[in-house]
């Protein structure tokens, strides 16, 4: 539910370690809302999200430790450099980075820009800077909203290989995107949300499941 509109109902899925769930559907079908529900930022009108069998509302901080969310907005500060952004976000996440911060920035090809305030970076570079957060964090559930937006071909390859590596390690990824990801690793599930108002979807939420 968003406002007083019903976006989708009967959405039910469960994800095992090493699974990618691709959420697709036309604009306005509720992909972002679904992802925000999975994060716990949005309360579903009915139903619940479970992590390892337990409602995320009762898990709170433990669940926050397990997820990494990348939304439409990058979540980086324009005044700070990519390196500082990374240091701070990992510090806030409770796992301060030291030397692997530079490695992560090298992976996303921002090594030369690491000391440049983010406001001088292009949209794609800002997105890369946000991706570095996924690399340094060790979340087992990645929730990525339109992750390929404003990225160039090389960066798309990078995102694919990041997700593949994550799945191989037994991670779970929920990705909302219009493009096909065509991954070679992990198992794949698709959730197709209908046009706004039609409210049908099948498939299997909680996310869940022990990756250890």
């Amino acid at each position: 539910m968003r406002g007083d509109r019903l976006l989708f109902s009967d959405v039910n899925f469960s994800l095992l370690p090493g699974t990618l769930l691709q959420v697709s559907g036309p604009n306005g079908s509720g992909k972002t809302s679904l992802l925000r529900i999975i994060c716990g930022l949005l309360e579903p009108a009915s139903g619940e999200v479970r992590w390892q069998g337990e409602n995320i509302r009762s898990l709170n901080e433990e669940y926050s430790r397990a997820i990494s969310y990348l939304g439409h907005r990058n979540g980086i500060k324009e005044e700070l450099t990519p390196l500082e952004n990374l240091r701070i976000s990992s510090g806030l996440a409770g796992a301060p980075v030291t030397e692997n911060a530079c490695d992560a920035l090298e992976q996303v090809d921002l090594k030369n820009q690491k000391d440049l305030p983010a406001r001088f970076l292009s949209e794609g570079q800002k997105r890369r800077s946000a991706l570095a957060r996924l690399i340094t964090g060790n979340a087992s559930l990645w929730i990525l909203d339109e992750v390929l937006a404003s990225l160039d071909a090389a960066a798309m390859v990078l995102v694919r290989s990041l997700i593949e590596g994550h799945l191989r390690k037994g991670g779970i990824a929920v990705v909302a995107t219009h493009q096909e990801l065509n991954l070679t690793a992990g198992s794949f599930q698709r959730l197709e949300l209908g046009a706004p108002g039609t409210a049908v979807a099948n498939g299997a939420v909680p996310v869940g499941l022990p990756s250890s």
Binding site: L41, E61, E79, A93, G94
Partner: protein, 219 residues
Amino acid sequence: MFRWIVTRDLMLAWRRRADVLSTLFFFVIVVSLFPLGIGPETQLLRSIAPGVVWVAALLASMLSLGRVFSNDYFDGTLEQMLLTPQPLYLVVLGKVLAQWLVSEVPLVLIAPLIGVQFGLTSDTLLTLFISLLLGTPILSLIGSIGAALTLGLRGGGVLIAILILPLYIPVLIFGAGAVDASIIGADPLPNIYLLAAFLVLSMVFAPWATSAALRISLE
């Protein structure tokens, strides 16, 4: 982790020094306009000083409050903070502490200097300083509730003022009251104690209310 929030906000404030300085200049100029407008009537100036300084402090805090959450809201860092494994209560407390250090402390420090323009004695200046030191954190704490409620709204700045200024009234009364008492030679301590009590109360309840407001604003 609390340390990270405070450090982060202090760092950001340092990168945007102009914002911080504008609040301080606003306070200095508003307070200084009164002696200039009224002229050298020491008795009158002395009696209006507590009210003028305190009202200017309230207005200056309105200026900086809008920024506490809105910048973080628009670039998505606020939702990231909501998803970090720590109580939102602490996130809010950290951000408010940083806002107070950056926007209010300079104002508290400069207030005794400006008070000289009103012909206040050194005892009164000390009372003014202490009352502001205890009162301004309350302004930040209560103001953060308004900032969280009006997050993402157009014209949020005016709305914050309408929502929050009435809640500032007790702080204004007891803050200015303490200084008034000191001017007429009475004991300012009762008012000071009341301010301290308000500070403790708002430290307990305001971050909690702000957290709830933030969750609603981010839905």
